[in-house]
Amino acid sequence: MGPSESDQLTASGEVSGVDPAALEVVPVRHPGRWVASVAVLVLLAMLVHSLFFSTTVRSGRRQPRFEWHVIDHYFFSSEVLKGLVVTIELTVIAMAGGIVLGVVLAVMRLSPNPLVSGSSWLYIWFFRGTPVLVQLLFWYYIGYSFPHISIGVPFGPAFFHLDLNSILTPFVAASFGLALNEGAYMSEIVRAGILSVDEGQSEAAQSLGMSRLMTLRLVVLPQAMRVIIPPTGNETISMLKTSSLASVVTLGELLFQVQTIYSANYHTIPLLIVASLWYLVVTSVLMVGQYFLERRYARGTTRAAPHNAGYWLRLVVRPRQSDAPFTGGPPHG
């Protein structure tokens, strides 16, 4: 059996008797992709049907499976919106506290003093090592062990007393618990960011006469932000959902509010969907915010600079008159 025509072409290294300009390129076929696409489309159709058009029999009556009218009724109800506001407040406060605590713990962890870095390590060990749900319950009930706290000389006279049981409302306990827990995780993120900045940067700053704190604030942290922001966005989104744990300390956040409603009317699934949809909405907003923050701190780096807003706008509203093939590269301008 002799070599085929195409083999001859390459083996001999010359295009004998063929007009090279007339050769046609045939891309490789992907039949698997077609099969997969059809399967996905069928599954999607089933999902849409189940979500919006199917019915089920409850207590002898045929009803729509997902009760969208119930979802619609409660989506903008004042109880749900009140819960949403509490959820957002809790997320913001816990994250702000966590970030500040995280920076402090990270700097402590990098301290040359073994007692300082050791105590930071101990903190992280404890707060990462116990479930956040347990920590929330702990702070809620801490008044049992410490009914009063007083500020004064250690082991000496006190200047004033605080009644912990009256201060520790569910909101305070939840903010405290979530922030202290988040601080442990944030400190590792901040530490990774600080370590990612080349040591030459600190040396250059010091050679200009900057103090250690100034070097950290003006040179190291701004550059560490590029490494810190993506996981922090992740943490914020995670915190939004972790805040639902605060329902166990009777805080009226989003999940607690819908639980209160469905415990009275038994529309459990529709109300859980209401809560889920709101979580999705806020998460989407956070993702947009993270995108712009990342762009802000990508200054001076080529690799990490994401596309600008106009790029995404053009992807959605593609100008019609353009017949140029899409090459995959980002348009400039």
């Binding site: 040396e203 250059a204 900057m210 250690r212 100034m214 001076g300």
Partner: protein, 257 residues
């Protein structure tokens, strides 16, 4: 002659170890005001470490090191040396400019931002005054059109010239150069040396760690050859580079040529 001038840097029996490895084994060196001294020697000879000791980026373990008559990193009272606190160390460093092998520009700041950050933040000078001076400095190093460029938009030679301008913006009395052209492509070395030549001509006191023997021969008042943590030979460039007394110097120069 240089010997009669006031000293800017005085090093006496300076010693430094990294763990069990002694990298400086008693360095004696004077740099007079307005002098340019080039430190040459094989890698690992301790010349960069010595340079970093001068602005206290490395702590010395023994001997005495003064800049402008002040001990680096210490205050003497009688027979005791008290280590200085961070703000005092910073104040002394602010009067010494340093240029690094790998530029170490701040990548998140423009060329102008790099040059102004020191005087504005450390010396608390008014922004407008610093800005005018920074623009003049960037013009002087030939980068008038790159004022708003970020470091990643500059070539290695341009980066190093911004770094020199950044150090000069602090109006230092002494400039330290740590192999300023070693990380550059060969065709970019000239533009950086040109700026350094200009500085030397204006009377800046400079201590330069370098492998550029031609530069050392032209610009240096004194050339110091170091090997294995000690000064082997020091003197005028013609003596050390053209007619070295020590066999080790001769061997090193032969390898470079």
């Amino acid at each position: 002659m240089a010997e009669a001038m006031t000293p800017m840097v005085e090093a006496r029996a300076v010693r430094k170890s990294f763990g069990p490895l002694e990298v400086l084994k008693g360095i004696d060196l004077d740099v007079a005001v307005d002098q340019v001294v080039c430190l040459i020697g094989p890698s690992g000879s301790g010349k960069s470490t010595f340079l970093r000791c001068i602005n206290h980026l490395e702590k010395i373990d023994g001997g005495a090191l003064t800049v402008g008559g002040e001990l680096v990193g210490y205050r003497r009272q009688g027979q005791r040396l008290y280590e200085l606190r961070d703000p005092e160390v910073c104040a002394r460093r602010a009067g010494i400019g340093m240029v690094f092998q790998h530029f170490n520009l701040f990548p998140n700041l423009s060329a102008l931002g790099n040059v102004t950050i020191g005087p504005v933040r450390v010396k608390k000078e008014p922004k407008e005054v610093v800005r005018a001076r920074a623009v003049a400095l960037l013009e002087r190093v030939g980068l008038a059109d790159k004022i708003d460029a970020y470091p990643n938009q500059l070539s290695g030679g341009q980066k190093q010239r911004v770094a020199i301008a950044r150090a000069l913006a602090m109006q230092p009395r002494l400039m330290l150069f740590d192999e300023p052209t070693s990380a550059l492509d060969p065709e970019l070395v000239g533009e950086v040396l040109e700026v350094m030549r200009g500085l030397a001509a204006e009377g800046m006191t400079m201590l330069v760690v370098t492998h550029e023997l031609t530069f050392a021969r032209e610009v240096a008042d004194r050339v110091v050859f170091m090997d294995q943590g000690a000064i082997v030979e020091a003197g005028a460039p013609q003596e050390v580079l053209t007619d070295p007394r020590e066999p080790r110097t001769r061997a090193f120069l032969a390898r470079l040529l």
